[in-house]
């Protein structure tokens, strides 16, 4: 037969390619994450979205109506997707303001403050390879949602040559003033292997163009925000944690944007939570305590009902805690403990408490399906927010 090699090769190629692409795994979005309410009133969860990550596959955002999985979007949209769903929502509504932050060629370490009237942001403008220059140029931007007008201003900070890292870790806006917190890591002049963390509060006024910088804290230990999120909602206080290398204990800090002050919390073993209405709570063991504005006086304390099923790991230090609308959300991401379980993606437990009484309102579990098809090895939910609504 003529052209035998060519014919066979082409037939094999066409059939093989078809088989290859037909067998490419696709996670069915409805199967990917499933919330089962085991007890309580499931309607309580209707107003919230849960953001998480299927490791090695995709982030996701789950509401009671649908699920958004960037990896399953059309290819070009998938390339442009950002992990934080709130950024994606803001990008849709305010592309001119958000695109520069999300895709800017020289934008580094940005945070956005979102309230009803303004979107405000701060980021470093990356135009140099010298650390002290990268972290000295700070850009503030503000978008008036009503007029759609964007204001942009640069400020320059005085930095020494011993800086080797900085990131913006907090933002609070009270237009025309915007406050940002910057965590700066410095090498110690006397010992280059020794680092110092400096937490600075920078206030910028869009009208007077004045900038002030105050160092709130200097510590040899790393300090990090309790909640990582790129979009803040004008909480007037923000919690941080650090690990005291001398006492080997976790230390909590509280930054009060109204007073431009930082407060070190002395209570050992507590977890600080700032609610969506800027109230301060802490959890020690199974007691939820609310503090007043000074963060020193207790306003109330309730014992949380802890009737979890056996074998559930309720070590609070491992959990994600949120207080929204007077409810405490506890997310327990069960990580695999050893290599013998590496094919199992454990469920995430969810418990919702009424903070006024401590009783359990809802108990549920997120389960993950089809994940072995895409080689995923872990999953977690790390953020709860009010369900995103387009303005």
């Amino acid at each position: 037969m003529r052209y035998l090699k060519l014919s066979i090769s082409l037939i094999l190629s066409v059939i093989g390619l078809a088989v290859y692409f037909v067998t490419v795994p696709q996670i069915d979005e409805d199967e990917l994450v499933h919330l089962t309410v085991q007890a309580g009133n499931e309607e309580i969860l209707d107003d919230y979205s849960f953001n998480g990550y299927i490791y090695n596959y995709s982030s996701f955002s789950l509401t009671n109506e649908d699920i958004l999985v960037p990896a399953n979007l059309p290819y070009l949209e998938m390339l442009d997707a950002r992990e934080e769903m709130e950024i994606m929502m803001l990008k849709e509504t305010y592309p001119d303001f958000v695109n520069k932050l999300a895709y800017g060629t020289n934008t580094y370490s940005y945070l956005i403050s979102a309230d009803e009237e303004y979107l405000t942001s701060a980021h470093f403008e990356y135009q140099s390879n010298v650390f002290s220059e990268i972290y000295s140029k700070l850009q503030f931007r503000a978008l008036n949602k009503e007029t759609n007008k964007i204001e942009e201003d640069f400020v320059t900070r005085e930095l020494g040559s011993n800086i080797f890292y900085a990131s913006i870790v907090g933002i609070n806006e009270n237009y025309p003033v915007v406050d940002v917190l910057i965590d700066t890591r410095l090498s110690n002049h006397s010992n280059e292997n020794f680092e110092v963390s400096e937490l600075s509060l920078i206030s910028y006024n869009f009208e007077t163009k004045n900038m002030t910088e105050t160092v709130l804290l200097k510590t040899p230990d790393y300090i990090e925000p309790v909640v990582y999120t790129a979009v803040h909602h004008n909480e007037s206080i923000q919690a941080f944690r650090s690990f005291d290398s001398e006492t080997s204990e976790e230390v909590s800090y509280l930054v009060d944007y109204d007073k431009d002050a930082i407060i070190k919390r002395e209570a050992a073993g507590e977890r600080l939570i700032v609610s969506d209405d800027s109230r301060l709570y802490s959890i020690v063991d199974t007691t939820l305590v609310e503090y007043d504005k000074t963060s020193q006086e207790k306003v109330s304390a309730v014992d949380l009902t802890m009737d979890f099923k056996e074998n559930k790991n309720m070590d609070f230090a491992m959990n994600e805690l949120f207080i929204l609308d007077g409810k405490l959300f506890v997310l327990n991401n069960n990580e695999i403990e050893d290599d013998s379980e590496r094919n199992q993606i454990r469920p995430t437990d969810l418990v919702v408490y009424a903070i006024s009484t401590g009783e359990i309102l809802v108990e549920g579990q997120f389960t993950y399906g089809g994940t072995e098809q895409v080689g995923a090895w872990a999953a977690s939910i790390d953020q709860i927010k009010q369900s995103p609504t387009k303005d």
Binding site: Y3, K5, V19, Y75, L76, Y103, G104, N343
Partner: protein
């Protein structure tokens, strides 16, 4: 057209004489890696049972992640690199100066160029799909060799450890990525063919020009890839924009390479 197909059949036959042994050699090494992993598993199982230590899970990553396996996979791409040079130079430097007969054929000289290029395309697809089939066979053997409670089933498209170069570059999981990656390689092949024809046309000067042209292809591509990290860029460039620009660049370079090669084959190439 018939003459072109006959030429293509001829070129493919020549290439398969190299490709099939390379695929067989690669397969043999992959099976050695497979049986090595199974032997290790059996030894580990025995040790765990004796010492009462919990067994870890085994998956295809244990086979494909072993040292021999990536070497086996890379044999075929290396053959393609070698043969892309060999396919032209054999015509001039081999016995009987075969290029003379090729250029005297009563067809458009670009048929020679395209028959060689399409041979690589078909050979590439065959190699790609043979490897995919080998994964399926190795998967079944490994699954049957491991006790089910210690076996993690993976999709055939995830048998390479994630984020490894082999997985990312050779086995894309979307048709867009497939076209992009293999299109990039095909355009590089055409650029190399053009560089070879430059050298065959203008000797040393052509060789220098050809090397510059070939390197320029990669420089251009990676410049586009880095557009969204250039500090002075005044526009917002999204990742999707980069992807589309890269695609357009690949197509453009294919056309430019074909045009230059056409001019060289028609007017300048020396026998």
């Amino acid at each position: 057209m018939i003459k072109f197909i006959r030429l293509l059949e001829f070129e493919l036959g020549r290439f398969l004489r190299f490709l099939i042994p390379a695929i067989v050699l690669s397969a043999v090494i992959q099976f050695i890696a497979l049986f090595d992993t199974i032997t290790n598993y059996n030894a580990y199982l025995k040790e765990s049972l004796e010492s009462n230590v919990p067994m870890q899970q085994f998956s295809m990553h244990d086979v494909t992640g072993s040292g021999l396996f990536p070497v086996a996979i890379l044999i075929v791409p290396l053959l393609f690199v070698f043969y892309s040079l060999f396919t032209w130079y054999r015509e001039w430097l081999g016995k009987n100066t075969f290029i003379y007969r090729l250029l005297m054929l009563p067809i458009n000289r670009m048929s020679i160029f395209f028959s060689k290029a399409i041979t690589f395309l078909i050979g590439g697809l065959l190699a790609f799909l043979t490897q995919f089939g080998l994964y399926a066979i190795i998967f079944v053997i490994f699954e049957n060799a491991i006790q089910p409670e210690y076996f993690t089933a993976l999709n055939i498209h995830n048998v390479q450890p994630p984020y490894e170069m082999i997985q990312l570059t050779l086995f894309p999981t979307t048709s867009f990525e497939f076209l992009h990656i293999y299109g990039f390689a095909f355009a590089a092949l055409l650029a190399l063919f053009t560089a070879i024809l430059m050298e065959r046309s203008f000797s040393v000067k052509g060789a220098i020009g050809g090397i510059i042209y070939f390197i320029a292809y990669f420089v251009g591509y990676f410049y586009i890839s880095a557009l969204n990290s250039i500090d002075s860029m005044p526009w917002i460039i999204k990742p999707s924009h980069i992807f589309l620009m890269q695609g357009a660049y690949i197509l453009l370079m294919m056309v430019i390479s074909a045009l230059i090669s056409h001019l060289l084959l028609k007017n300048k190439v020396r026998v």
